[in-house]
Point group: D4
Chain length 252, copies 8
């Protein structure tokens, strides 16, 4: 029931087409969403700024082709994350306008140009090539969410002076996403150098006592630079969503 | 070496008082901070918007009186967190302008009025009285950092409809800090209802398999509402710092 | 807005006292609870069968006296769990009709007689005196929720034949709550002997590699007797709530 | 020794065919089961309502064909869980009356129609397609155990309003099985909305700090909705067994 | 029903005092224990060689006085473990024949002399004074169980040559109990030097990454000397019980 | 230097062929093993009763053929554990006298008949087919170590009465090895029924919260039946070695 | 900006080509590295003594060929660790001067002879063939870093006397690297026998409760031999780097 | 048996006072230590450079007074670590030459002046006052072991530029001990700036997800600066022992 229908119901009441008891019954069982709450959901990608998104990890190429087909018909932009190269091939064959980024393992399909919604620039920082796939997933996601994004790769804690050459870039960003594996110390260092929000992404890069990213995760949660927040291990997508929420020009 | 000294050095060079080689040597050994980087540190509370802050947990009352005394002489505002009531008594006796909040376990001393630096309102949400100390720590901290703060207490996942009566308050906030123990599900629910940044704070409230907050922490890191970020267990202070970074009018 | 008010709103519409647009506006902002959803909450103890309950663990005697006072004025029955003996003394002094069970660590105050709502008998089983406090918490809670309860104490896995003498009691129960620490194997054995629902409660009894109840918890989650469900460590209260849900004569 | 034999023994005693000492000896070594305890086991699937069940995970197709063949000869109904598609093919080829459900990964073979033994309807709820295999395993199992089952898919915590449209379905179920991965918060929300028993099944869906379902498991064990019980990670089968125990018309 | 009663029942049958049907009924409901199984339990300390034992950790002095009193009346020998000195004082005051060992934290009361049941000597080895309480608990327990026991203290892995001076003592023992904290390596070394059974007891001695004995426990479970078995952390009592089982002259 | 050489050295001294100082020097640098300690090692399989054993898990077929060849030339009996079927094929082809047990995953080659060294019978118990490989590894190992071994399969905690039919077998064993996965409760039950030594072997059988055998391991370490000892997860080999140490007729 | 440019800047100032204010501005934004700090980085392998090193684990053969090519052009020596044999083949085909060690899984390419920089000999000790790959990685790395290295294989804790035959080798080493899996006790034993620095490397060798090397790691961190330090699980490379730092003749 | 006695034995042999067989017997049972191995032990503090050391944590003042008394009589220097202030009072009262450091919680008693044995200076670095007790324990221990020690306090990762002002001190140290809690990132940064050995000490400083130092420990084990080694949590003593081994002028 949309507002038009609701208005008609009330009009019917006021004109006697509907009795008070009939109106009671219909309103009592009225699903919430008809009151404007749930419609938000049908337009979730508008409300939260996210394109329609698929987690590609456990789906077959066939399943994804079906889902993307439906999205394309709705006119949505599409973002698939954690997509293997072989499945990507089938998708690109089917949707030649789509684009696969082998580093980020993302598939993007833009039907309506992505409008820049962000106030400033999101900076994605990581220490090296091992962390790059997670960093790139953040980059692709943040761009799809309407943000200007820059990447700063190859600045690490054990070669700390390299960071100082990039102070300008670091300090001019509206939000900084720091991707790091191993001991996960980079967000602490950067958090001490900039005043803007810092989102830390632990990666599962490492071996032995890195425990698949737990070491980095704990390091980031215990950061001595106050005001650093953390997302799940390898969650470049989530970090970009959080950064986009922060960077949104008109959030509500 | 401060800018004045640097200017003098260059002037001496330009006037020949100093040879080029002498200038080389002095500059080569020039400590960084003299170039304007480290001065930032002396004014850290300006750079990052934090007042001078003390973690009260492991310090004696005597140690804190000494530290606060020095801060007062510098003209700083002071925030002590995790302060036991008995130690607070000594501090308030010594610094009667200071104020102890027994719920938040914070001591605050304001010498210069706190200017509102935030763009919007920070909302601190928690499910009940058990989580209140952590929520209140966030509130006090965020206010000391120059933000307008509102609290929303007693909205829980098991009585989900109460949240819906507060949608206006939730959706009008610039940043939402959600404090929750036990299963830590509240940030997911709220993250699905608002478009603004959501910072989740797990608390150590619970028993048995809550493992001192680990259950809540993991719940939040795995939030199905994308864009939720997380801080350390019981870290109301850190959440407020992150919220202040986000809410800052002119971050850089 | 309650149904009476809603009816009046619709009547006003049908008689023209309220215009269609005015009706639209009031209904659009109508809080859910006025539609009958939230009222459930005001009567939560009726909907879920629970009395008004307080977790006594972190509250002061003063705080609890205030809360219980309010409950008493509402005419509610009261159940406090995890209540230390010294706090209990203050409560009983203030509310002499209340009753403290030192083993269960519960305080109960019955203003209106508890009606038996359960279909059958709930049986609470444990291996020995160490597990008794948790078992007794379950017993007290289940009784307050309107169930007939029986206890079977001192049947353990290492003296398995004792169980066989009690097969009649075990098999005639409507629900069996099994409380066990250490290796937590008792629910598996009982689950293989009865056809009724079995709820397992791990306790923190043990030392070393019992890890505060984790060993028992894992044992129960991995029970080889299919159909055993588990609650949190030491959560006698929760087990009783679950048993009461199962045993309810007219659940909806 | 069955009752007939026992009767004969006693008759022999009463007629002097057997001396008292001979009787003593035979009875002293009498295996329990002859006294009616163990016979229960031969009819375990009747006692507990379960069909003969095989965990398919570690068995070869050949092993399972042998086992199913024996069950078929006994006239039993058969349920195999965790069965890979390739092994299923061999089984269906051999037993064409059997049926493989690729989503649930179950093989079922019904020789005698499953009688409805349950009092009410079991509702299986999950948040999305990732949790569907576990939910479907619960559905198939519960049906094989003689229950009417309904599924409610795609209701999640981050889109909480969708739950409200299904309140009728939720509240009319006799038992609700809630299957959820990631933060595992759905059972808490549903546990707060219904009065019937809620069984929570954590799934291993997720990555990073979901730790193969531990995050969901802990979330459920710490549910703020009292009366929620939990089974092992991915244990749709066990949840259905527990639900069937609860829903049984004549449990004993 | 004891054998005498059973014999009478059969005699009554053979003489016609009891009909066959009456005999059937009485035997069908006959509790197991009357068939000689449960009597074992009444004499458990004879069957397993253990004296009546109390875990003193969570009991009050009053509770223990009651229990010991009952044991004394039964003529049993008594062993209490994990007994604090202050509670011990009350016990010894009440039972002056009893004896408290402050190092082992055990109370023993011998009413009938302990007969030596073991074939050989049990050797209890530990590295130093920190592990001594656990070692001594093993010693006292093993002696109460009828074994000759010798202690070898102050042989550690970091001073490995000291072990070699004791090869005779090590190799002449029937069973070796090795108590060790920290890295728990001593059982591996000893297991490589002797051919007799080695029981390893991890202790909670250590700090930091010893995690309350987990490091030692894992070390022992992974011992490179094959044939070493392990008991729970700090479980000197259990190690002695196992050693007594091994050392028993006529185990069955 | 062997005893013969030592004797010669001393004779040379006594006859003046060697000066005191020369004797001093040679003895000061005398390696231990020449004093009879290390020779033990050359005959380790005699000292500890173990055949020459290879852990097959990480070795190639080629590596094992080389090692077994050397052992064969020494006249040793051979036991390889954790051997994959494909590697076994190569070994059996090369050493046709050897024998591969596909269930136990062991390769055995007996050159000299295994003499029975054990006093009594070792009983290996497990709950079902999933635990069988570990149980069988124990069986094969114990037999190679000179023990009479019996297996008792398919007795589980959820069908506890089946155990009672086997009390004779259980109670007549000299040592009982109990192999169990899932909640690992079987050793507790058996430990309460027999007086002989019980060695518990947790297996990695299970899923979800069994955590690869941790649940069973913890259950066994916390056994309420005193005197149960534990070996590493899936360590059937180690359990057999421990049982052989216990069962040895003349251990030293 | 390099020293030449800096000198020119100062010269320009002294000659008036640049005003003082212009000089101020250029120097204030001067990146650190131009002041001689960052140049260190360009010569990192000189500063830290490491050759240019690649972690081969996650890189493709193509990626590594590109990187090695660049290194070769710079005239660097090259060390790749954790390199699979199949990728190694491509590398050796491309760079025939390079050398692959299949045990250590390292690729080394020496363009300029490695000068011996170490004061003494580094000894790498391990217990057996399973730990050999990690030990060998340490050996190869330490040699590439300019050290004389010796290996001592097959000395284990369960055959402790073998160590005593090697006391000379152990005590004459400048640094001892001890590689051990399972219970990780070897470093404690060796740490008690030598006075030189001991670096312990836990390996992931083992199964069950070895938890991929955690047992060994914890054992080493809790070593009772004071002065033993530890590196990450399987980190032979890191141990060698640490040993090289210690052994460096002129460290600064 | 000391060398003098051995010489006498050989002399007796050469003069015929002792027969060859008598000599055989005495030498065969000769304890090792008489051959010069164990004497090392009696002089352990000389061999390893450690004074006689007591871990004060679990000992009573009385126990320590006894032990220290014996050490004093032997003429040893004494070091007690982890000593509470109240116990220290008793010790200092008894041994007025001793000295208690309340920050380090150490008691030292120097009878013979500590000779400087180290080649260079050991630098102990920590981030702040919370880590100071552990740092100071390292300082005191290293000094007692004959090293020159310097402390560098208040250099943290979040204020990274402060480190750069201390590059000279950092780079001139022979060994650097870095003490850090929280995320434990400081050793990585310092390890990247210096070429000398770096020993990392995690501290239990922190809360929530620092898990009593586990976060810092994991961070250090995963350090991206190669060549950093780690000791146990809060183990300042062990770090100093390791540093002393490294810094020893003549290690063997």
């Amino acid at each position: 029931m949309n507002p038009v229908e609701l208005k008609k119901l009330l009009a019917d009441l006021s004109t006697g087409k509907l009795s008070v008891d009939e109106g009671m019954e219909r309103l009592a069982t009225l699903p919430y969403e008809d009151l404007g709450v749930a419609r938000i959901d049908h337009h979730r990608h508008l409300r939260q700024g996210t394109p329609e998104t698929i987690l590609g990890a456990r789906k077959t190429a066939e399943q994804m082709i079906t889902i993307v087909g439906a999205m394309v018909r709705r006119g949505s932009n599409v973002l698939i994350t954690r997509l293997d190269a072989d499945k990507a091939e089938s998708l690109v064959a089917k949707f030649p306008k789509g684009c696969y980024d082998g580093e980020a393992r993302t598939f993007t399909l833009v039907q309506t140009p992505v409008e820049v919604l962000g106030k400033g620039r999101i900076l994605v920082v990581c220490a090296g090539t091992s962390d790059l796939p997670v960093a790139r997933e953040a980059t692709v996601t943040a761009r799809m969410l309407g943000n200007e994004v820059e990447e700063l790769v190859d600045v690490g804690v054990a070669g700390i002076h390299r960071l100082f050459d990039r102070l300008d870039i670091l300090r001019s960003a509206a939000v900084v996403i720091v991707v790091a594996g191993m001991e996960g110390a980079l967000p602490s260092v950067i958090g001490g150098l900039v005043a803007s929000p810092v989102i830390a992404v632990p990666t599962s890069v490492g071996y032995g006592a890195s425990f698949g990213g737990i070491a980095a995760l704990l390091g980031m949660l215990n950061s001595c630079a106050s005001g650093v927040t953390v997302v799940n291990i390898d969650n470049g997508f989530g970090a970009a969503c959080a950064a986009a929420r922060i960077n949104r020009r008109n959030p509500s």
